[in-house]
């Protein structure tokens, strides 16, 4: 008996038990679809986080005042001390001190209430006082108008660059460039609007599109009053020199602040790369967790296959006996039941993959998360489905093969 005929016999057997076979296939189908979708969901979330963080620039270091431990050993939070100055930033920008640093931007951040003088719309958002190098450090460009220039900083000019979301909230479609906007009551002229970093729902990205940039001198003198820096943004010359840049910044700031023991540092340097790895590891944990649950449902589906195959063997004792009497060898009987189980597994896998593709098309609209289906995951899931059919089919099949033809025929 050829493989094709064995397959035909198995299909016949499955067809004659339509309902039961259908339910078994359903179990596998749900398991496979769940596995593909959860893996896709996890992959999608990882891609999204990576894309967002890449948009921030992965060769970016953020120096914040304060440190994890003070000299007295009392933990004080990140940003709680006021130790960073503009001269620190200027020192870091020197190519001789820090050759692996491409650009440095000191930032003073506060929140501000904006009122546009055209329509009197109000909007509260983050106001960043910084220098022209901010655009280069953050890899941002302007969509309209221009960014800050040196002259604005020297002149303490009353100019502002708006994030795209901020611009649309305030001006609602009107061209904001050249318009006047009150920031905490101080009138400023809008000189430009930033390009969007991408309209995603995540909070990191939206804050990147909803902000106001003013010259740092203007912020200190006219908006917030004298204050130390909220952070210094440092961009390394490339992703590969990030750790070298980190070391240079660390050494230089320790020297400037006259701190000998690095453990007593009054600043903290964070890299976006560490953010990326944190975010992706959180996503990976979630994927593993959800994938594990999906895997259990697949296992249950597999037990379903074993169950139906065992019932099938018991039910078909006469048929097995007859086939043996007619000359079927134990190997052929085993093969027939194995093929039957793998056909069940494969159909479940195929339908489950279709369901997953459908779900991947529809679900993102409902839950607002992207699902990334990789061909590898689909092929893997199909392979798992066949493997489940085979693994859970082995025991019933060998039971069928071991049946003595005579015991089988005797059953009335």
């Amino acid at each position: 008996m050829t493989w094709l005929e064995t397959l035909r016999t198995s299909l016949d057997a499955i067809r004659t038990r339509r309902l039961r076979s259908g339910l078994t296939v359903l179990g596998i189908m749900i398991g496979i679809a769940a596995v593909i979708l959860t893996v896709g969901l996890g992959q999608g979330a990882q891609n999204q986080v990576s894309a967002e963080i890449n948009a921030l620039g992965t060769n970016l270091l953020t120096v914040s005042p304060g440190s994890a431990t003070t000299a007295s050993g009392i933990r004080s939070g990140f940003g709680s001390a006021s130790t960073l100055t503009e001269s620190d930033a200027a020192a870091l920008a020197s190519r001789t001190v820090a050759p692996d640093v491409a650009d440095v931007a000191p930032v003073v951040t506060s929140s501000g209430t904006l009122t546009d003088t055209l329509n009197s719309n109000n909007w509260t958002t983050a106001v960043d006082g910084t220098t022209p190098s901010w655009a280069a450090v953050r890899d941002r460009t302007v969509a309209q108008g221009r960014f800050l220039d040196r002259q604005d900083v020297t002149d303490h000019a009353a100019v502002a660059v708006l994030g795209p979301d901020t611009a649309s909230e305030l001006f609602r479609g009107f061209d904001p460039v050249g318009q006047s906007v009150d920031v905490n009551g101080v009138p400023m002229t809008v000189v430009g609007v930033l390009d969007s970093v991408g309209s995603t729902s995540s909070s990191t990205a939206s804050s990147q599109d909803d902000l106001v940039i003013v010259p740092i001198s203007t912020a200190v003198q006219r908006l917030f009053g004298p204050s130390s820096l909220s952070s210094i943004l440092v961009k390394s010359t490339s992703g590969g020199t990030l750790s070298a840049a980190y070391q240079e910044v660390d050494d230089e700031l320790l020297a400037l602040h006259k701190i000998t023991n690095p453990a007593d540092a009054d600043f903290t340097i964070a890299s976006e790369a560490s953010l990326v790895s944190t975010a992706t590891s959180v996503d990976r944990t979630l994927t593993v967790l959800l994938g594990g649950i999906a895997g259990i449902s697949l296992l249950v589906g597999g037990i379903g296959v074993m169950n139906i195959m065992l019932v099938s063997v018991t039910e078909r004792v006469r048929e097995i006996g007859l086939r043996k009497a007619l000359g079927a060898t134990p190997a052929l009987v085993r093969r027939q039941f194995l093929v039957e189980a793998s056909v069940l597994g494969l159909s479940g896998g195929g339908l489950g993959t279709l369901l997953a593709l459908l779900g991947a098309g529809l679900l993102p609209h409902a839950i607002g998360y992207p699902i990334a289906l990789s061909p590898l995951a689909v092929v893997g899931a199909l392979a798992i489905a066949i493997a489940i059919g085979l693994v859970f089919g082995v025991y019933p099949a060998s039971r069928a093969a071991r049946l003595a033809p005579i015991d089988a025929l005797r059953t009335e």
Partner: protein, 232 residues
């Protein structure tokens, strides 16, 4: 006839079934020789061991002791796979309950032993159609067992037993589940096969059925009680 090797050569065959500590001897030493072209009826009350004898003759079971040479081949020490091949090529079975596969057409039921023998598709179809024609069912080949009468189903089963051109046809109470008219038809068909030179062994407890056979063997308690030569 004497110079031809017998189809069946049983020598001192016993069969003991064990269930736990209990051992039941179903056959206690059977010696039987059946030559090619013979038609033998095995008779006996239930419990006499005639079913066990049929299972051993049909290579469905191996004897506990003694030898069984079928068509010149010693089958008493074969393993499952070798026995399957012997059943496939040398033996045709006819059962009381027909034992057709309900989901297959008459044609595919008859093709089944050929499929296990590895016969190609076209030849298989031709031989199965020929066998069905031989039992008078040429017009019923696409019917499923459920659509056929008991007598017709048994004829499909006989076609299936014939299709591999076996050395031996074993029939276990072939008329046991049939009304008398159908039973007479089946007996007639078996007679025809005998007339055509087939070797048949028929298990029955019905003396009328046994009468059509050339020779009958009576079993009691696992032993051959008597052999009756045919009434001329």
């Amino acid at each position: 006839m004497a110079d031809r090797a017998p189809v069946i050569d049983l020598r001192d065959v016993t069969k003991v079934y064990r269930s736990g500590a209990l051992a039941v001897a179903a056959l206690r030493g059977i010696t039987l020789r059946v030559d090619a072209g013979e038609y033998v009826a095995v008779m006996g009350p239930s419990g006499s061991g005639k079913s066990t004898l049929m299972h051993i003759l049909g290579c469905l079971e191996v004897p506990t002791s003694g030898t069984y040479v079928l068509d010149g081949q010693d089958v008493s020490t074969m393993d499952e796979t070798e026995l399957a091949s012997v059943r496939c090529h040398r033996i045709g079975f006819v059962f009381q309950q027909f034992n057709l596969l309900p989901s297959l057409t008459a044609l595919r039921n008859v093709e089944l032993p050929l499929a296990y023998a590895g016969v190609g598709r076209a030849e298989r179809r031709g031989r199965a159609l020929e066998a069905l024609g031989r039992v008078g069912l040429a017009d019923r080949v696409q019917h499923r067992p459920g659509e056929l009468s008991g007598g017709q189903q048994q004829r499909v089963a006989i076609a299936r037993a014939l299709v591999n051109d076996p050395s031996l046809i074993l029939a276990d109470e072939p008329t046991g589940a049939l009304d008398s008219a159908s039973a007479a038809e089946i007996i007639g068909l078996l007679d025809e096969l005998h007339a055509a030179g087939r070797t048949l062994v028929l298990i029955t407890h019905d003396p009328d059925v046994a009468r059509s056979a050339g020779r009958s063997v009576r079993l009691l308690d696992g032993l051959i009680l008597a052999e009756t030569e045919p009434v001329p």
